[in-house]
C-alpha cells in the first residue's frame, strides 16, 4: 500500500531508515540480518506499522488523549518511571493507551462499521464449534506438532488487554439455536 499516507509525520531519520530497509529487504529479510541491523530493521518496520496500520479509536485525538496542561504529572518521578495505569508514556498526549481509553484499530474507522446482532452471530458460534472445530478423524484427537498450549497462554498473558473487556452486565447475547 505504497500510496497510503502515514498517519503521523515521521522524522527525517525515520524516513531514511524506512527507505533504506525497503531496499535491503528486497534482497535480505530482517531476520537474516546480523543482530543490531535486524533490530534497526524492526524499528523501521515499527514506524511503518504505526503510520499505516494503527488508527485511533476516537474520531479526534484532541482533547481525549490529554495535554500536559489538563493532565499534569502528579509527581516528577513519572517523567522517567512507570505509572501503573499507563499514563504519561507519551508526555505530549498523557492519556494515550492508559486504562479506560479505547482500543486502537488496524483499519480506518469508516471501514469498521458496527454489525447487526444477526451478522455478529453469523456464523453462529455453536456451528463453528460443532462443525468446524469437531474432531472428524476416526482416531479422535490430532496433536498439533508445531505449537502447544504454551502459545495460547503466552498470547493471553502478553496481549492481556485483548481478553479483558468492559462487559455489559445487563445484557448477554444469546445466539439462537440454528
Amino acid at each position: 500500500m505504497d500510496d497510503q499516507r502515514m498517519l503521523f509525520e515521521p522524522s527525517l531519520t525515520e524516513k531514511i531508515s524506512v527507505g533504506t530497509f525497503h531496499l535491503i529487504n528486497k534482497f535480505v529479510p530482517w531476520h537474516k540480518l546480523p543482530g543490531i541491523l535486524g533490530a534497526l530493521n524492526l524499528s523501521a518496520l515499527r514506524v511503518e506499522l504505526r503510520g499505516l496500520n494503527l488508527y485511533d479509536g476516537y474520531a479526534s485525538a484532541t482533547p481525549v488523549q490529554g495535554t500536559q496542561e489538563d493532565e499534569p504529572l502528579p509527581d516528577p518521578r513519572y517523567r522517567d518511571a512507570r505509572h501503573s495505569d499507563g499514563k504519561f508514556n507519551s508526555l505530549e498526549m498523557p492519556r494515550m493507551g492508559c486504562v479506560g481509553m479505547r482500543f486502537g484499530r488496524n483499519f480506518p474507522r469508516k471501514h469498521c462499521q458496527r454489525p447487526t446482532d444477526e451478522l455478529l452471530m453469523t456464523p453462529n458460534p455453536r456451528i463453528v464449534s460443532e462443525r468446524l472445530m469437531a474432531r472428524k478423524n476416526p482416531d479422535g484427537f490430532i496433536p498439533a506438532t508445531t505449537l502447544n498450549l504454551l502459545a495460547a497462554a503466552w498470547i493471553q498473558f502478553q496481549t492481556h488487554d485483548w481478553f479483558n473487556h468492559e462487559l455489559v452486565s445487563y445484557a448477554w447475547l444469546t445466539p439462537s439455536v440454528y
Binding site: 482500543f103 469498521c112 492481556h160 445484557a171
Partner: protein, 113 residues
C-alpha cells in the same frame, strides 16, 4: 449458550454511533502490567509485602506461588479468563521479577525498592 458482549463506549462523536469504541480495562502498553496491575493502588499492594520492591509470593512446601484471593484466584496483575497456563506465566514472571530485584540489589545496594 450465552456470549458475553463488550460494552461500547459512550458516543463522543457522530461517527461513534456506526463505529463504536471499546474501552481497555488494562493499559494498552507492554509495560509489565501483567504482574504489576493497571493502577498505582494494585501495584503498591502487590509490592508492599516483601522488601526491595519485590512481588508478594507465598511458600507452599519448598516452592513459591502467587498468593490467592479467597475465591482461589491468584493475586496478580489480572486474573480474568483464568486457566492454569495463565497462572503458570504469571508465576514464572513474578519469580523472574524478584530474581532481577535481588540482582539489582547486589549491584546497587543503595537503591530503594
Amino acid at each position: 449458550m450465552t456470549v458475553p458482549r463488550t460494552q461500547p463506549d459512550a458516543p463522543l462523536d457522530k461517527s461513534d454511533e456506526t463505529c463504536p469504541g471499546y474501552r481497555n480495562m488494562n493499559t494498552a502498553w507492554w509495560d509489565g502490567s501483567q504482574i504489576y496491575g493497571s493502577s498505582e493502588e494494585i501495584t503498591s499492594a502487590l509490592r508492599s509485602k516483601l522488601p526491595d520492591g519485590k512481588l508478594e509470593l507465598i511458600k507452599y512446601g519448598k516452592e513459591d506461588f502467587l498468593p490467592q484471593e479467597l475465591d482461589g484466584m491468584p493475586r496478580t496483575g489480572f486474573s480474568s479468563n483464568w486457566w492454569v497456563g495463565l497462572e503458570l506465566l504469571h508465576t514464572l514472571f513474578a519469580l523472574e521479577h524478584n530474581a532481577i530485584c535481588d540482582t539489582l540489589k547486589k549491584a546497587y545496594p543503595t537503591w530503594t525498592g
